[in-house]
Structure formats: C-alpha cells, structure tokens
Amino acid sequence: MTVLLTADELVDARGLSCPMPIVKTATAMRTLASGNVVEVLATDPGSVKDFQAWARSTGNELIESTQEGSVYRFLIRKI
C-alpha cells in the first residue's frame, strides 16, 4: 500500500544550479515545524547526492528521492 504524502511546502528549484536547491530548502526549513514535509523540485543532477548528504548531516529525513524526466523530486521531513 502506498501512502500519498502532501507536502507542507514546495521549493521549486528547477533551473537553479548548485548550491541553490539546498540553500533554498534550508531556508524554507527554518520556518517549518518539526514533522513538516517539504517537497523540492530540482533539475541540478548534483542535487541527488547533495540531498542525501544534507539529510544525513542535518538529521532531516529524506523520505523520497525520485526522478521524472529531467526533474528530480525530493520529499524531506523536518526533524
């Protein structure tokens, strides 16, 4: 069974290069409550490993990391 998750906030970082997908996500996270979910869209290929590393380092949970065409989608839950 798949549980559909609705994000509390969307960060559209499509077309933005490193480091902006991470920087914009970190900025958005600051105003969210613990447990809130952010959805990030990015086209920067480096962002896949960046978000894995960032989640690991900050303790935020990378729930999902998927790709559709040239767009990467990340779902992250704030710790």
Binding site: P19, T27, D50
Partner: protein
C-alpha cells in the same frame, strides 16, 4: 558518508578570500553557501582584491574572470548567468540568511586600499586583524581562494 565526515561539520569552514574575480568569488561563495546550508559556521576573511570587490559602490559590477577563463570561459559564465544563476553577492546574502556566516574585512587590506568600513557593502560584518581571524578558525580548514 561516514561518521567522521558528519562530525566535521561542527568545525567552522574558514575562507580567506584574496582574489577579486567573479569566478573565484563565486566558487568561494558556493563553498560557503553549501556549508551554511549544513548548519556549519563559516568565517570569511576578505583580503586584497576580494575585499575591493565588496565595496558598496562596486559589489554589483563586473569583476572579470581569471585569465585562464579565456573567451570560452567568459561565454560559459555569461550563459549560466543568463540562465538565471544568482550573482555571488546574492548567493552570499541568501547564505547569510541561514545564519552562521561571518564576513570580516582584513584591516591590513583596508589600509592598503585606503577604505573605511563605511565604504563596504552591508554584507561585511566588521574589520579584524589576522590574530582575531586565527582565533576564530577552531579546528576547521582554512581555505585560501
């Protein structure tokens, strides 16, 4: 990523900026922003031509590229900017919003360039000498750009 790599984020990232060309400043700022996004403290120490680039009346100007960029480099950089990449100054402002990024002007370089704190962009937090800078670096790396 192993535990040592995760733990090293506790130590500040220290960037000594000497070069004032847009490519090197952008490269340094990307390092700073990435660290700031990881919650890492970043200390930036502005010297010489990097300090000059932070003059309030000049920060948005074209600071050129390193000679090795050549024409091909100029074309590539312009294309990225045209595609919407922020200037290094804007990226640095966004990094500062995350907290933990401190930017100090080297007092020796202030003397060299005959500038005062009032001449500098608000991005610069203050002026310090090399001793204060050394005491701020903790056990983190000191990177010279």
């Amino acid at each position: 990523m192993n535990d040592k790599q995760v733990k090293d984020m506790d130590e500040p990232l220290n960037l000594v900026l000497f070069s004032g060309t847009d490519d090197r400043l952008n490269a340094a700022v990307v390092l700073a922003a990435g660290a700031a996004a990881l919650g890492r403290t970043v200390n930036i120490f502005l010297q010489y031509w990097a300090l000059d680039a932070f003059r309030a009346d000049r920060i948005g100007a074209d600071h050129g590229l390193a000679p090795e960029a050549g024409e091909a480099g100029r074309t590539a950089v312009d294309a990225l900017r045209a595609a919407g990449q922020s200037s290094w100054a804007d990226t640095l402002r966004q990094a500062k919003e995350l907290g933990g990024v401190d930017i100090q002007a080297c007092s020796l370089s202030m003397d060299l360039l005959h500038i005062t704190e009032a001449d500098l962009d608000p991005l610069v937090d203050g002026v310090e000498g090399v001793t204060a800078f050394h005491l701020s670096t903790g056990n983190g790396p000191v990177v010279f750009v």
